[in-house]
């Protein structure tokens, strides 16, 4: 088993980060192009704790080294991951656990991501991935498979951070614009009311 760990700080509040997280893989993110689809499978609020539990199916498309392709077959270019997330609004935590659906009999990838507030304006992201090649045979091959996947996690993590930064910036801008528009509408309405009252 190999482990990939990473942690980042985002200069946005936990509320902003946890909201933008739902559209991390939208067109504003021009970096994480390996994620081609994100589908919500289920969504419930736990009555006892108020925790929002969501299941999403993440579809990725990414090229695979030739040696690995011949070893595992061609079914690896498009792969799917089940992500189960838990938002605890009382503790201000988002926890996302992900497991690979594709080739799960040969490779086991378990990833945990946590978003927690550092203070009112900053949020910490921590990521932990455990990668295990399950196929029998030579240790050396298992090692190579695990190393390849760790390398990919590292590459995707860098892109993911950059891409999410643009989503956060866009979300903040759009939100501010919306607030401004709502304010203008309210003012217009009030002016209208005053005019009507005066007439």
């Amino acid at each position: 088993m190999k482990v990939f760990s990473n942690s980042e700080t985002f200069d946005y509040s936990w509320e902003e980060v946890s909201t933008a997280n739902w559209r991390k893989y939208c067109p504003w993110n021009e970096k994480s192009t390996h994620v081609v689809a994100v589908d919500t499978l289920s969504r419930t609020v736990d009555p006892a704790t108020g925790i929002l539990r969501t299941e999403r199916l993440i579809t990725c498309r990414q090229s695979v080294p030739d040696w690995l392709k011949s070893l595992l077959g061609v079914g690896m270019e498009e792969s799917q991951v089940l992500e189960t997330s838990y938002v605890d609004p009382a503790q201000k935590t988002v926890t996302m656990v992900s497991a690979n659906l594709t080739l799960s009999n040969l490779i086991n990838v378990q990833e945990t991501v946590v978003y927690k507030p550092l203070n009112e304006h900053q949020t910490q992201f921590t990521q932990d991935a455990k990668i295990t090649a399950l196929c029998g045979g030579w240790q050396r091959i298992r090692n190579s498979i695990e190393d390849t996947l760790v390398k990919r996690f590292r590459e995707n993590a860098i892109k993911g951070k950059e891409g999410f930064e643009s989503v956060l910036a866009m979300s903040r801008a759009v939100f501010a614009e919306e607030r401004e528009r709502e304010k203008m509408m309210l003012i217009r309405e009030q002016v209208g009311n005053i005019r009507m009252a005066a007439a």
Binding site: T49, Q80, A99
Partner: protein
Amino acid sequence: MSQSLAKQCNEVKERYDTCFLKWYSEKYLRGIGTAENNECSELFKEYSQCLKVALKERGIDKLLEEAREDNKENDAVYLGRKK
């Protein structure tokens, strides 16, 4: 918003995602959206029905069942039922 795995579900998915995001930021995070039935429930039902067909066609539904079974431990931990 991101795409759906199935093109034919994109339109309803977009409407649901937009509805959810509004609900999440304006209600849920402010502690007023804990009801199981909310303004997005109908859209979600529609989206799920579309998606269900696509998942079955691609054989993903069976893989999902197994993965959900493996995730039960996480549910216990993160839904606070196990310390």
